[in-house]
């Protein structure tokens, strides 16, 4: 079967125009950009010399870069777990036959369409320390959401989860809608309760949705920049500095473009490695089931 159809494969020319644009806008500049990682270029002017791998060695001794790696991982972990957990709960909720489910879906997804920088502006107000305004006013709390170094990172995670839980929800929902109703009916006839049906029917069949969700939220978390930059700019102190904000500052605030590119390259390799491991592990889980 497969053989017969692959003889009918379309020509590679179908991909050629896209490949051309992609190569011009993304591939060529990225490859050209990588070269800067081996120089001491400031980012402006002509002065530049090749320094070999010195920039990469410097990362290891850079307290700020290493500290930001820790923050990045914590932030990513928090976002991946909470965003997908919440997304799954919301999906299960709006998958049920509720009268308001169409409206609920729209509400939960709506923050996705607003720009991250705007969301950060808005949440800076929501995270106002004033006990009579924002979240504190609503909940009767006196938390210094963005100003307390031990809270700020989690506040940023909260803001990101608020914006993207709906995204996870939609992907899980798609997975749920793909599960044939007969399977649930069969399980019910066998006397399985709600939890058991979730454990043995729903959860295994959600695997493809879970793979995509975990991958997208991990990449998003590791590369997170706009929200952190607009909400705290890495502060207070260095409490919310992430790899992306550090590499930004090295390039545009400190004038160390070469070094910044080295960090960007490390980040890219790191993200690629994590996604590959995830895809490999999760796909093999999908197949096993």
């Amino acid at each position: 079967m497969i053989k017969r159809f692959s003889a009918l494969s379309p020509s590679w020319l179908f991909a050629a125009p896209a490949l051309l644009v992609y190569a011009v806008v993304v591939l060529y500049p990225s490859v050209a950009g990588v070269l800067y990682a081996f120089t001491d270029w400031s980012g402006i002017g002509e002065g530049m010399s090749f320094v070999g791998a010195a920039n990469f060695r410097a990362i290891l001794n850079d307290e700020q870069a290493m500290g930001s790696l820790g923050n990045t991982l914590l932030l990513t972990l928090a976002i991946v777990v909470v965003q997908n957990g919440l997304g799954l709960l919301l999906a299960l909720g709006v998958h049920a036959k509720l009268r308001s489910r169409a409206l609920l879906r729209v509400i939960f997804f709506a923050p996705v369409v607003v720009s991250p920088v705007m969301v950060a502006f808005l949440w800076k107000y929501v995270y106002n320390p004033d006990p009579s305004a924002g979240l504190n006013g609503l909940l009767g709390l006196e938390v210094d959401w963005l100003g307390d170094p031990s809270v700020a990172l989690w506040s940023i995670a909260g803001m990101v989860v608020w914006q993207y839980a709906g995204y996870s929800m939609v992907i899980f929902l798609a997975g749920l809608e793909g599960i044939p109703a007969e399977l649930h009916e069969a399980a019910m006839i066998d006397g399985a309760g709600t939890l058991q049906r979730f454990r043995y029917v729903t959860w295994p069949l959600l695997a493809p949705a879970l793979t995509i969700n975990l991958m997208l939220s991990t990449i998003g978390g590791l590369k997170l920049f706009d929200q952190v930059f607009a909400a705290t700019n890495g502060g207070p102190g260095y409490a919310t500095e992430t790899l992306s904000t550090v590499l930004y500052k090295q390039a545009f605030v400190f004038g160390k473009f070469g070094y910044s590119t080295a960090i960007a390259l490390v980040l890219a390799l790191f993200v690629a490695a994590v996604s590959l491991v995830q895809i490999y592990y999760l796909r093999s889980r999908e197949v096993a089931q």
Binding site: A110, V114, S115, V117
Partner: protein
């Protein structure tokens, strides 16, 4: 029945809590400065449209809306055309070339944009496209292709092959088979591609600032944030600006929202 009702109540409560930041945004934009500081959480009483009137004229949003619309619409057309074409090949070619190209496209999702920023800026300058709509359209088409190709490829892989094959047996070329038979079947995922790319392009702030700043062709986010930068201390005014900047894309989403969910669901079946 009772359990569904209980669930409905819980979900509605969750939605209300979820809406709190939006409530803050909208109510604050309708308050005058006195209400802002004295009753930050209450409903605006009386509501005032002053902030909106002031923000509309100060941020010069009318021309920006035109620029944003042109750039977004043309980029979307290019993305859908190029992306679906490429994905048709990537999904159907079970060759090393097909797989290699697919991975090459996925690489684009992982690369941080900072890496190629300066070489790309040089290139766009040399092409004479700085300060033009064309430059922005080229940029968005390029950077959003990986994600677009990823979505389309997943969807096409899940489509039964028989449709296109049947058409070909009838003597149609791949091109005709694709445009007449396959592409119309892609409608749900095209809806998803449309909304997610529209969101990205409409909201992008940094690239238009870099490529269009000072050209007179600024997009909505650039105008809104330059406005926000000047009136930082006036929350009512700033929030009115934010509401107006987000409104067009929110409306587009409300119109297209059915497709977003449908597109995902059909894309995942494979």
């Amino acid at each position: 029945m009772r359990r569904t009702f209980l669930l409905e109540v819980v979900m509605i409560a969750a939605a209300v809590a979820f809406m709190f930041p939006v409530y803050a945004l909208v109510t604050l934009s309708l308050k005058d400065p006195a209400q802002l500081s004295q009753t930050p959480l209450a409903l605006p009483n009386p509501p005032t449209g002053d902030n909106f009137a002031k923000a509309w004229s100060a941020a010069a949003l009318a021309p920006s809306l035109v620029n944003s619309t042109v750039i977004t619409v043309v980029s979307l057309v290019a993305l859908i055309g190029l992306g679906s074409f490429a994905a048709y090949f990537l999904a159907r070619a079970h060759t090393r070339l097909g797989y290699g190209l697919y991975v090459l496209f996925l690489l684009g999702i992982v690369l941080p944009f900072q890496l190629g920023m300066i070489p790309l800026y040089r290139l766009v300058t040399d092409l004479g496209l700085i300060g033009t709509h064309a430059g922005m359209i080229l940029f968005y088409t390029g950077v959003q292709l990986p994600f677009t190709v990823f979505l389309y490829t997943g969807f096409i892989r899940a489509l039964p092959r028989e449709y296109a094959s049947a058409a070909q047996i009838d003597g149609a070329s791949h091109l005709t088979a694709f445009t007449r038979v396959v592409f119309p079947l892609l409608r749900p995922i095209t809806g998803t591609v449309l909304i997610l790319n529209a969101v990205f392009i409409w909201n992008d702030f940094f690239t238009p600032l870099l490529y269009l700043g000072g050209s007179g062709f600024e997009t909505v986010p650039v105008s809104v944030f330059s406005f926000v930068g000047q009136y930082v201390s006036d929350y009512g005014l700033v929030f009115a600006g934010l509401v107006m900047g987000a409104l067009p894309i929110v409306l587009v989403f409300l119109v297209l929202q059915r497709y977003v969910i449908k597109g995902f669901s059909s894309g995942l079946k494979g």
